[in-house]
């Protein structure tokens, strides 16, 4: 298992290098630069001063090396747009918020998705199944920013039960609207996968054996069927977690959550090159990590899987 982990981590290096190269090229190929202002265009001299200050007057390959060298040494440089702040500071401010929000959303997804999927499978082709799957299809069809907008309008503007937005940590009531909005889709994904996987497991011989032994229906489902049905769910969850912790631009904007998803888009429209590169690298680290975690979790969940 240790050797496997080392191999996976080494494999991550070329992946990261590819991500960096592609991101670097894309960022510089996009029309417009950080100082292309039109409402108050800068004097040519001013732009020149800025370009010198941030090494943008150097050839592209030199910039490629310069940034990489700094990044490897842990320095992500200053933001071009928000010149008073460093990129690492910005990430340290925003990323934890998205992680916390993402985890709350994921908890909501599990709490909603697992029972929905289980009920749908156990009561297959009954009104319970139709109702669960109806909820699932609705959840998949509505984009999360629409959910967020509806929740803000109903719960805050009309009923005055909750604030319209803001952020005060995972225990603050303001987490509810964005967490539900972000968590709804993962919940439905989990429910769908679980229903399919549980149906398959329920058809297995060992389930029939368990029932034949006279075990209670409840025990059969919870102890034998559900546990085995959760293995594919672990795979999906890993991807879902990587998705929710990297934030959602729309939901974070609508509900005024200072998260990294929102910052990513702001940085793109502002052509904030160092921030964009740093976030591309950060997101790939998150995804690679989650993939490794998922693979390792198989070993725990499924005794048939062994890593040597």
């Amino acid at each position: 298992m240790g050797a496997y982990l080392v191999r996976r981590l080494l494999l991550a290096i070329p992946t990261m290098a590819t991500v960096y190269t592609v991101a670097f090229l894309l960022v510089h190929a996009t029309p417009g630069g950080p100082w292309d202002n039109a409402e108050k265009p800068l004097a040519p001299q001013v732009i020149e001063n800025l370009r010198v200050k941030y090494h943008l007057n150097e050839p592209l390959w030199a910039q490629y090396i310069l940034y990489l060298r700094d990044a490897v040494h842990g320095s992500l440089g200053p933001s071009y747009v928000n010149t008073a702040r460093d990129v690492s500071e910005i990430i340290a401010d925003f990323f934890p918020v998205s992680i916390q929000l993402g985890l709350v959303a994921m908890a909501f997804a599990v709490v909603l998705g697992i029972p929905l999927g289980t009920l749908a499978a156990v009561y297959r082709n009954t009104p319970v199944d139709y109702l669960s799957m109806g909820i699932v299809v609705t959840g998949i069809s509505i984009p999360n920013y629409v959910v967020a907008t509806i929740l803000v309008t109903v719960l805050a503007v009309v009923l005055h039960w909750l604030p319209t937005g803001g952020w005060g940590g995972v225990l603050d009531v303001r987490v509810i609207i964005p967490a539900v909005a972000i968590g709804l889709r993962p919940a439905t994904t989990l429910a769908r996968y679980l229903r399919a996987s549980l149906l398959e497991v329920l058809g297995q011989d060992y389930i029939r054996t368990a029932r034949a032994k006279g075990l209670a229906r409840r025990a059969v489902i919870l102890r034998h069927a559900l546990r085995n049905a959760l293995i594919p769910i672990a795979t999906v969850s890993g991807i879902l977690v990587a998705d929710v912790v990297t934030g959602s631009f729309f939901v974070e904007t609508v509900t005024r959550v200072p998260g990294i998803g929102r910052y990513f888009v702001t940085a793109t429209t502002g052509r904030d090159y160092p921030v964009l590169l740093a976030l591309a690298l950060l997101f790939s680290v998150v995804i690679i990590t989650m993939n490794i975690v998922v693979d390792l979790s198989y070993a725990v969940l499924d005794p048939q899987v062994r890593y040597g």
Binding site: G32, P163, P258, T266
Partner: protein
Amino acid sequence: MSDTSMRFPWDSYYRRGSISRRQLLKLTALLGSTAAVGSAVVAEPQPAAAALAPPAKQVLRYPNFEPLHFDPATMESRPEILVGMALFDPLLTFDDAGRAVPVAARSWSVSKDGLAYTFHLRPGMQWSDGHPVTAMDYEYAWKRVVDPDTASDYASAFYPIKGALEFNKGKTKDRNTVAVKATDSLTLRVELAEPAAYFLRLVSTWNYMPVPRWQVEKYGKKWVEAGNHVGNGMFMLQKWEHDRELVIVANPRYWGPKPTLQRVVFTLTDDPFRTSLPAFENNELDVTDQIQPGDIDRVRKDPTLSKQLHKFRWSGTAMMFCDTTNPQSPLSKVKVRQALYLAMDHNKIANEVLRGIYDPAPTITPPGTIGYLSAPPLTGGVDRARQLLAEAGYPDGRGFPEVRLAWPKLVTYDLVAQALQQMWRDTLKINITLQRMERKEFNAAFNSWAKQPYSAYIDRWGSDYEDPANWANILFDSDQDFFHTKWRNARFDSLVRKGSGEADPAKRKQMYESAEKILNTELPAIPIYHLGVIIAVKPWVEGFRLPPAAAAWYGTFGRVKIVER
């Protein structure tokens, strides 16, 4: 300048149930008002019967974008300027009537030739950390803006000062060649390269505010963070949680009258246009940001919100800029531009397409700025437009080549561009191709148009300060040609260049009005609408108004009072 609504002071008692509807009507009738209760009524909020809230409740909750910083040298947009002008005192400001009003300077004098300015500071002023405010602080700050190392976007606002241009362009490394000098701790002397009648207007802008040298030197770029930030304004920075909340509080060391308002709590988001209205309705904010065309109809119909609407003039104009030298584009012909202008229904655009959030702009320079014309020089409407188009060689729109109209993505431009396309198709039978661009992409294209030919684009200009030096001179003088219209008119150039140094206000006005007539006849830019600010304000907020140009935002929060709800 609130418009849509003003309640009578006793209206709040009625809504709280302290008085009956009959009493309310009686009180209203007593005043002899013909206005129906509850519908749109009269003028400015009167600091009225309602009692002031106690100091602990003198808090204003205000939406804002995350500001970049509050460093006067590099502040450039509203989120910074609005807060920054509460944190620092400029030497002087201008009132609504256009008179200079002393702030940190007690008085000033100008030499006969208009080249030397001497400012006398008030004695005894202190920074928020107790340091004395001196003329050296201003000298340091001004030289810092033009220092090429600062890379300030606004260095050019200092070019009228002798030596500033050379130092900023790196022709000399000696900052003492910039002719700003504190001759003693309370006297600041400035020499100009040539007379500039608008120099005091420049001095009233945020870039001319002082900077605490000791903090800048101690903390570098981190001096703008809460805890390190030191100012000499009416308020001081107390807390700044990035992208969440920013708090400014009354500065106990301020030299002048103490504000009634004790704190302003800014909720920071990256889209206050969209998020501030629901938060306002849920009573989390006391003021909204600009209400968008998509929301305004609902807000006007809402019985509560409609009474809380305020509209302020904002000195600025959205225009369609044309490349006047591109031989491929029919817009290089004066008569075509005149035809498009005359066929444009300004009222329909402002009142129907934009739902009245902005005002029609028949001429370029906005009201309130010298050179503004109350009546446009070109008249004749659609009939004259068709005739001009025929004279230009396109009778009934025949043979009119493809014209591409570009604009940076923005709700109002999207609406206007589509309306213009429709209008000109209906009246002149010509077709315009629309090209909507992402902001930075547009900006890059815009910068290339200094040299490359193009057809036309929509964009706007908002005043930094209300003076024609901020309009005709920098936008349309052929040497400046800020908007790349490549328009050249010798008489216009000579008028505005003379006007910028003219000390006699009457002569100056005449020069700029003549120039404006030329500009609005040749139309290198076709004016569309004047900017405005339409926001909702809670009834317990009194005295809030936004002056029409950023330089005049000094004192905005100092005027606000919170009354008992």
